[in-house]
Subunit: 256 residues, 4 copies
């Protein structure tokens, strides 16, 4: 179809981005990634770098997927920049999802440090996709800094609470010109569909797929939901009404 | 797949029921019905009976669909019973969706009259699918009366307000043994997905498809959404959490 | 003030109704009832009738309060009618709150049986205040049967979930002519205020006060909240807007 | 009572802060300010400075209130700093509410510039009360910079949409040590009560009072609501439950 999403010149047919964390095993992960139809997958640079079992995680990511390494573990812009460089040096490509988090309880990203890291890494030629706390002005700064997308969280990561920050995310979708990817908090297919109906360009889902009883079936559910929400958005959603309006004619019949 | 829904011995592969009201023209309607993959369609007996253009509406309903004529226009049990008999006499089969509505502003169904009509028509051999205001005890009475499904409204018909009555509909899903079909109020694909994630057996969508800018694309969107929600339900949705929980490892890396 | 609520000729200055269940002890209860400023209190006829400690509960209810005995424990109209007669015979007055509940899990009232009991007891001269599952047509039947008020639940009793049934309760407030009292589910002062802002005539609160760490302070909080919500309703609430609108002038100053 | 709020050594008995914008006339404003029982009032420095009618606005503010001049109209930290100095020079005291807004559509504050202005003005000896877009890390920086309170918006100013940003504001209340004042968006008394129940230290309300049909009655309604919500918070709110829990005993009676 011609409704593709283009990020840094890459044409994507799926608007579902996925992650590699929390899967029970690599086989299930691989199968779920494939079933999701997703073309973009995020992986923590730290896991690849660690050695041990996890270093082979890249082997279980389908070849056709674009790798979006993330700077998980970074607490400052400087640390995020260092991780991004390690990632490129390790052959993981030039896409980088910036995560700068110093709050260890709610894991909320630090927008100010995220903006700094974005500015520096765009300068170095990275395709930068920053994860952020929803905020219009910070989003505009990320856009100005050259971010390829802006990725606000829907609710705290791993909380499965859906798009709690709807109000501000809707404003960001309306006012920011680079693609908006709703990242974190989406726990159910219906919530992914809702993000797409709001006009988001894509969603990133990890926990909800990885920790489902059946991750492969859940990956498929999210694939369908994202397509459903996007189709609904394009088909022109109706306005809500305060009163009822009959689908079938109500008068006349037996009473006429 | 083996996750079919069986109503009165009929095996259905799609859990999306659709309607025929409010379409701009019959061609668009036919195309949308087909694209929806739905196998059950409701049509007001009154429209068929009217003569004029509308009487040919049946010609534009795909052959493979099960007809669920409705008693739209009935204000009492007695009127609904009369319409049901007309429907059968006119060769529209023995399924009947009961709608008894005397409230002309919000078009909210009358549960007491609906129960009476259900009792009488089950007695006469109809497959009765009553539309109702969400209420646990009324739902149980409909079940006892022999209803094939119970169809509570999500919000007032045509309002596109989604599942406002979530609290009570969830209880009905948990406590009533015949299939629950959420009918009326669903305005967006995400809301149809949500109903399925709650464990509803099916949804009925009419206004949202018929009045979309592109009804055919919207029909497809709802088809995907219902499948997404159902798959998510079967795959085992995760619980929501008050706090965040990282998808990627957060500690150790640069700090170790 | 002249904004009093009149029920069966009785003029009430407080729109907060309270209950006597779940208090840790009678002294705390008495103090909370007084602090609530409430003038109407419900008590289960069954408790009075039981003998033992509970039979003296009436001694701890302030004299100025109107007693609204309830038929808690009734599972049918017939049982409710029997309890109402016992109540009157025991000198508890001619007000009766009808509760007919056969669902032991969610404790949702049975509207059909409630309507029957209301019809019978109005006939016998009772002032009937029926507790019910929110439903427009059932509410209209209760009004026609002569109910002094209609008391829909906000959410299942004791759940502290607030006004989950907002959609239908708003419609009942708009369409039914006797006073609407939101009963059950209200867990926080803000939710009582919200009911009043919607135009409800009164609220009944029991669990939220009785089980608070400090029931007396909580009683006072609900008193204030009900007054706040009612004042807000009368003062003319503003409409919500999709966009911002500055309170202070934004242009000109430094830029002019 | 001893539940006072202390800001910069000033003890406040009311947790309702009010504004002076949008009132139809100065007399109504004065009466509403008095009736609100509020002890803190914000006024745009720009209005005082303008000359013309508005310059006399200070005359209509009750003497006992603490003036919290605001930098409305500032689009950068630098402009906000300039306005703050003008305010002090004009004898309006050393409290300053920082508002830095360059987004003219949703009027969302610029956290980065707000932090800069806060740092500079704390340095100059001001009591700084910054208005901000809800964000945990920006809130922490404001605290570190020496802000006397942190004032996140509930929803876009003047929108009357309530606390749309509940999720993040709750986290800010839990994690930030200076008082949190929910500012902007609160349109109904129940929403003010809700903010207090969440544990907010105060709320600022302007539009909802000033534009009510009866601003004086609405001021009183908000006063009561804030007290109700605060009392409820202190009295220990109960947890919500998934199932019902009877207030009155349900078994035994007629069935025993």
């Amino acid at each position: 179809m011609q409704d593709s999403l283009v990020i840094a010149g890459k044409e994507l047919n799926s608007r579902l981005f996925v992650g590699t964390g929390k899967f029970a095993d690599h086989n299930k992960m691989k199968e779920a990634l494939e079933e999701s139809q997703s073309e973009v997958v995020t992986v923590a640079v730290r896991r690849v770098d660690l050695g041990g079992d996890d270093q082979y995680i890249l082997n279980d990511i389908p070849d056709y997927m674009t790798l979006m390494p993330n700077t998980s573990g970074a607490r400052t812009a400087e640390e995020a920049i260092r991780i991004a460089r390690l990632s490129k040096a390790a052959g993981m490509g030039n896409w980088i999802k910036i995560e700068v988090i110093s709050d260890s309880k709610y894991l909320l990203p630090d927008n100010e440090e995220t903006i700094k890291a974005t500015e520096a890494l765009v300068e170095e030629g990275f395709v930068v996709l920053p994860y952020m706390s929803p905020d219009l002005m910070a989003g505009k700064r990320l856009e100005e800094a050259g971010a390829a997308t802006v990725m606000p969280l829907g609710s705290p990561i791993g909380s499965n609470r859906g798009i709690q920050m709807k109000e501000i995310i809707q404003i960001m979708i309306d006012e920011i010109n680079v693609p908006i990817v709703v990242d974190a908090g989406i726990g159910r297919p219906s919530e992914a569909a809702e993000a797409m109906e709001m006009g988001a360009d894509a969603v990133l889902v990890n926990t909800a797929i990885a920790t489902a009883k059946d991750p492969v079936a859940m990956a498929q559910a999210f694939d369908l939901a994202v397509k459903a929400g996007r189709s609904g958005f394009l088909a022109g959603l109706g306005a809500t009404k305060a009163k009822a309006s009959a689908s079938s004619p109500l008068t006349g019949f037996l009473h006429s």
